[in-house]
């Protein structure tokens, strides 16, 4: 059975899968960031990424090349994320988790609608971030754009990790997420660390959107919704309280989805999402806190 397998083809599919998985991973880490700070899944995360992408698209229409537009957008998204948190999340900061979650669903509608309102509904296209030429490694042709996307996604996550691990501000943010009360007593302004978390998450989302959009060819205002679903699934697969878990979970999910789409023909596009979620459900039933999540010890 295995004799007939075209290993070069499999390698290509794995790299392509890692590439889409890298996009999921970036967004998944954004979800984890906000989850650890406030205990909610930000349902608007994907739409915020979409909005950032559309801002970048506007910049490229006004003479910006891809990478300058990328940089400007990521910085603007960081500021925008902080502003949004101050305006909308701050007032419900002490409300129940479910209330905050519903506010993010409200944000989902607002951001999605605003994008349709500002940029008319017809589809857009972005210039490519990377060369479209293939590159040959060990006799197998890989797309440069796939490798580039993997690189940028991992770099973004790595930078974030360095920030959390080696700066005082990063330490303060981790402390605030872990124990808000004690952090307040040591003089950390917890409310502002949450705002900063939103800024970082929105900037990460911008990276995800800007990586995801060009390979699609054409995209509209709903293009981030399936990606948010996969990012959510990847984060939960890895364990929602672990950033490393979210990255590994998302990469694994990207590869799995790509192999599923290529080699299992009866899983059409319709059932792809369902199949992916079913597998994750299976994993969760064996490991209820995800692959890398910490299970709260509870004897009942």
């Amino acid at each position: 059975m295995l004799v007939g397998v075209d290993w070069a083809g499999v390698a290509q599919q794995v790299v392509a899968g890692l590439s889409s998985g890298g996009t999921y991973a970036t967004l998944a880490v954004a979800l984890v960031l906000i989850y650890r700070a406030t205990g909610v899944v930000n349902f608007a995360q994907g739409e915020l990424a979409m909005f950032s992408t559309f801002v970048a698209w506007t910049l490229t229409r006004h003479g910006f090349a891809y990478w300058p537009a990328f940089l400007v957008t990521v910085l603007a998204s960081f500021a925008g994320g902080i502003a949004l948190e101050r305006a909308v999340i701050r007032p419900v900061e002490r409300a129940s988790v479910l209330t905050i979650a519903i506010v993010t669903i409200g944000l989902f509608f607002i951001v999605n609608g605003a994008a349709f309102w500002i940029w008319s509904p017809e589809v857009k296209s972005m210039p490519n971030a990377f060369s479209t030429r293939p590159i040959r490694i060990g006799g197998v042709a890989f797309a440069i754009s796939d490798l580039g996307i993997i690189g940028v996604s991992l770099l973004a996550v790595l930078l974030l990790w360095l920030f959390f691990r080696f700066t005082k501000l990063g330490l303060a943010m981790r402390a605030a997420a872990l124990n808000p009360e004690s952090s307040r007593l040591t003089g950390i302004r917890v409310s502002w660390t949450i705002a900063l978390g939103w800024g970082l998450a929105t900037a990460l989302g911008a990276v995800a959107g800007l990586m995801a959009a060009p390979p699609l060819g054409s995209f509209d205002q709903n293009f981030m919704q399936p990606i948010l679903l996969y990012a959510f699934a990847g984060a939960v697969l890895g364990g929602i309280d672990s950033a490393l878990g979210a990255v590994i979970g998302s990469l694994a999910l990207g590869v799995f989805l790509n192999l599923l789409g290529t080699y299992v023909s009866w899983v059409g596009t319709d059932l792809r999402q369902a199949a992916a979620l079913a597998v994750i459900l299976g994993v969760l039933l064996v490991r209820p806190a995800g692959l890398f999540g910490k299970l709260a010890v509870r004897r009942v």
Partner: protein
């Protein structure tokens, strides 16, 4: 004495609700009556969601899919098996109850977000599954009882004659959904104020404490999901009737599930009157937003803003607000005898 007053207050409230539901159609146009009937379907589904999320503390993002199970049960039984549409409503509830039981099984092991993802998976998979098994469900075309079973669709051809009364179709659908809604909300009220409700709340407040008091957590979680499935199924079944006897996979995409959660939280978890307000919110606010501006995306912006504003201004939801308004009155009522 206190207990008597409380029950009297409950009865008075229920009587007022019944009276309101009875007289409302006199002021409603035909089209509005149809919209209220749709809100009635949401009302029933949201009561179910409230049992799981509000009382038992288990988040479900899959109740839209449970509505779909009820809806398709009604559509298939009526179109292919010669049943009258009205008789399929309880059957739809029972089938969705079984589905709710199955959906509740992961809740035995998962909690919080992990459970949310599991139920969300069910919601996302549902339209794809409905398209896949097209032999049974008519695929993406859906099932149109108007074409396939006109004679068994009550009121599809105009007026309904009921025990000497003649009702316009939409008035009939309005009374049907809100009538069933009131009966089921009464049942839910009886359920949650007894032994079962106490167990549900104990599981919600502390699983450890509940287990040490001898409550079988897994059993009550699954039970909450099953009962909740019955409510969602009845709501879904009625949804077929009020959608011109038509159902298709696109009727129950995952955003229906999200919308139900929005309705439950905006209404105010844990308050039955709030559930009705939440249902009215998710039925009428989008229409209201669409009337404000027809620019693409604008209604979405208004709807989202309304959700955010309600949550910021009324953290307890509309029901919590209602409770606060009536509190001076009811507090007097309850404390007089003490």
């Amino acid at each position: 004495m206190n207990r008597v007053l409380r029950i009297a207050g409950g009865v008075a409230f229920a009587a007022a609700a019944v009276a309101l539901v009875l007289v409302l159609p006199h002021w409603l146009s035909d089209a509005k009556a149809a919209e209220f009937a749709r809100a009635g379907c949401f009302f029933i589904a949201i009561i179910g969601l409230n049992l799981v999320t509000g009382y038992t503390g288990q988040i479900s993002l899959g109740h839209g899919a449970l509505m779909a199970v009820g809806a398709y049960t009604t559509a298939i039984l009526t179109a292919d098996h010669g049943l009258r549409d009205l008789w399929t409503i309880p059957l739809a509830g029972l089938v969705a109850m079984a589905a709710g039981f199955a959906l509740g099984l992961p809740a035995r092991r998962l909690s919080g977000l992990y459970l949310a993802l599991a139920t969300f998976a069910f919601a996302v998979a549902m339209p794809a599954l409905l398209k896949r098994f097209s032999g049974l469900t008519g695929g993406s075309q859906g099932i149109n009882l108007f074409d396939e079973a006109l004679s068994r669709s009550t009121g599809a051809l105009g007026h309904v004659h009921l025990a000497g009364w003649t009702l316009a179709t939409n008035d009939f659908l309005y009374y049907l959904t809100w009538g069933i809604g009131l009966v089921l909300s009464g049942a839910a009220w009886l359920l949650v104020r007894g032994r079962l409700g106490r167990a549900f709340r104990a599981v919600r407040d502390s699983e450890v404490a509940a287990a040490s008091s001898g409550i079988n957590i897994s059993f009550y979680k699954t039970l909450a999901f099953a009962i909740s499935g019955f409510y969602a199924g009845v709501g879904g079944s009625l949804f077929v009737l009020v959608s011109n006897w038509f159902v298709s996979p696109s009727t129950f995409t995952f955003d229906k599930s999200l919308l139900l959660v929005v309705g439950a939280v905006v209404g105010g978890l844990g308050s039955l009157a709030g559930m009705a307000l939440g249902a009215l919110f998710i039925q009428f606010v989008p229409t209201w937003a669409a009337n404000l501006s027809s620019a693409p995306g604008a209604p979405s912006v208004f709807f989202g803003t309304a959700i955010v504003l309600v949550m910021i201004l009324l953290p307890g939801g509309l029901g919590g607000f209602l409770l606060k308004l009536t509190e001076p009155l009811t507090r007097r009522l309850y404390t007089r005898s003490e």
